[in-house]
């Protein structure tokens, strides 16, 4: 195998239709980085979801003296409260139950809205309902069982599952992820067509050379290899660009997102590398396979 001959042919091929090659590299870069962004999103959402699922709790709010709920007849009595705690702790699905008193709730409230004193001043300690924070063993499966056991029980104002709130948030994230993946897939189709076109042009440009190669008995492999590598190299260049973009996406977008939401589930460098390696495989396979199939049509030996 005369490797320098092959590389010379590739260089000539890439340079001869420079505009197509540049277009190809850019489209591959964008489609791969979008695909990678989609994958990073998937990972981020999964990571967030497991984090919240393991921490999600059911809040059972108890009646206060001025509850608006007609089921409440004045503040919860100590007997009702003890009965509820007894009910909750005895359920097998419940991991543990924490009582949050009005004082504690007010302290938390003040802490959460520390930068909005005007709002804090309108709320009195007696407005804050006491609650049981119920941690479940399997929040997804057991929510209904536990919630229905205490909903409407005497002294209970309302039952709120954090999962239902979070699910809305997840739906938003899933939607964003799907949109990114769909755009990436459309772009990948465009990339495939561009690869096919580039290789076809290249084969047409060098039909004289390939014709002579055929005639003097060069093997199919030898004739096709420069074209195949041309596609793969363009794919790799596109992937290199995509890697830069993905690092940007990770360090600028996702990291900032995390700071904003202030929960501790950042993606590791390992995750980023995994996505980048996957993008490389997709890029190389995409370009290699498309080139190969195109060549079979346009360089019939």
């Amino acid at each position: 195998m005369r490797s320098n001959f092959v590389f010379q042919e590739i260089w000539v091929g890439l340079r001869r239709n420079l505009t197509m090659t540049v277009a190809l590299i850019v489209v591959v870069a964008i489609s791969l980085s979008l695909l990678g962004t989609g994958l990073l999103f998937v990972k981020q959402v999964d990571r967030t979801r497991t984090y919240w699922q393991s921490n999600a709790e059911i809040s059972v709010y108890l009646c206060t003296a001025n509850s608006a709920n007609p089921a409440c007849h004045g503040a919860v009595t100590p007997a009702q409260q003890a009965q509820l705690e007894q009910t909750l702790t005895s359920m097998p699905q419940v991991e543990h139950v924490t009582y949050v008193s009005q004082q504690q709730a007010y302290a938390l409230f003040k802490q959460d809205f520390a930068n909005d004193q005007a709002y804090v001043s309108t709320v009195k300690e007696s407005d804050m309902p006491p609650s049981f924070e119920v941690k479940l063993r399997d929040p997804e499966a057991d929510y209904n069982v536990v919630a229905s056991a205490v909903t409407g029980a005497p002294g209970v104002d309302s039952v709120i599952d954090e999962m239902t709130i979070l699910n809305k948030f997840y739906r938003l994230l899933d939607g964003a992820r799907n949109a990114v993946v769909v755009v990436a897939l459309i772009l990948i189709v465009a990339a495939v067509l561009l690869v096919a076109n580039t290789i076809r042009l290249s084969a047409f440009n060098r039909r004289r050379e390939t014709g002579i190669m055929r005639l003097v008995g060069a093997s199919n492999f030898y004739i096709q290899l420069p074209f195949l590598l041309e596609g793969v190299i363009a794919g790799l260049l596109g992937w290199a660009l995509a890697t830069g973009l993905l690092v940007g996406v990770k360090s600028l977008l996702l990291n900032n997102l995390q700071q904003y939401f202030s929960y501790n589930v950042s993606l590791s460098l390992g995750d980023l590398i995994e996505v980048i390696v996957l993008a490389m495989c997709v890029g190389v396979l995409l370009c290699g396979v498309t080139s190969f199939l195109t060549l079979r049509r346009y360089l019939r030996v």
Binding site: M1, R2, F5, R208, E209, G211, I212, M213, R214, L215, V216, G217, A218, S219, N220, Y222, I223, V301
Partner: protein
């Protein structure tokens, strides 16, 4: 060396056969002229030998190989034993004489040292000594055809196919081309040359096969171009 056994070739969507029941043998070291009007099947004959086309019927043996049984990936190896020369030379315009000839060896993976030794020999054989660095557009038609012949012969093929090699060349220069072909033939290479050039055929006095409408109408051992009754 080349054996056609009742070969018929009908191209798709055509009623008339391009070749019909052609049955002939060309022996090793022979020099054969293939004559006949345009469309008589000369080119089809040559393409069948290269396995660029498959016969509709009949069997073809080239260099001891049954082409019907030769798998596709072995076709390049068949073509390495067959040299080809065309009317339009088919040189690479961006390569000089030496590079054009060396190209044929490079693409079949011959070592560089071998190429450096063999290419100058062949360039001398076709009578282009000292013109290694010329580009094709700096050469006359006759010289370009000599380069094409050097390229066809550099791998020492067993068979040389020439499709109207003098078609674009004036009669005086053609004689030089024929001398080179004769020289190649004397090294033991079988030469099959399709031509319209009556003067050349008459002067060489070699075997002549005449085709008409795809049929062999004449096969003479020491023939001339025209009918010789």
């Amino acid at each position: 060396m080349i054996n056609f056994d009742n070969v018929t070739k009908i191209y798709p969507n055509q009623n008339r056969a391009a070749l019909e029941n052609v049955d002939l043998t060309v022996n090793k070291g022979e020099f054969v002229f293939l004559v006949g009007p345009s469309g008589s099947g000369k080119s089809t004959f040559l393409r069948l030998i290269l396995k660029e086309e498959r016969p509709t019927e009949g069997r073809i043996h080239v260099a001891g190989k049954d082409l019907a049984r030769l798998s596709n990936w072995k076709v390049p190896h068949l073509r390495r034993r067959i040299g080809c020369v065309f009317q339009d030379f088919r040189l690479l315009p961006n390569k000089n004489v030496y590079e054009n000839v060396a190209f044929a060896l490079e693409v079949i993976g011959k070592p560089r040292r071998f190429i450096r030794r063999v290419v100058p020999e062949v360039i001398d054989l076709v009578g282009l000594e000292g013109k290694h660095d010329r580009m094709p557009d700096e050469l006359s038609g006759g010289e370009q055809q000599r380069v094409a012949m050097a390229r066809a012969f550099v791998n020492r093929p067993m068979i040389l196919l020439a499709d109207e090699p003098t078609g674009n060349i004036d009669p005086a220069t053609s004689i030089g081309i024929m001398k080179v072909l004769d020289r190649i033939n004397r090294t033991g290479t079988t030469v099959v040359m399709a031509t319209h050039d009556a003067a050349i055929v008459d002067s060489m006095r070699k075997r002549v096969i005449e085709l008409e409408y795809g049929k062999v109408v004449r096969d003479q051992v020491r023939g001339v171009y025209g009918q010789a009754y």
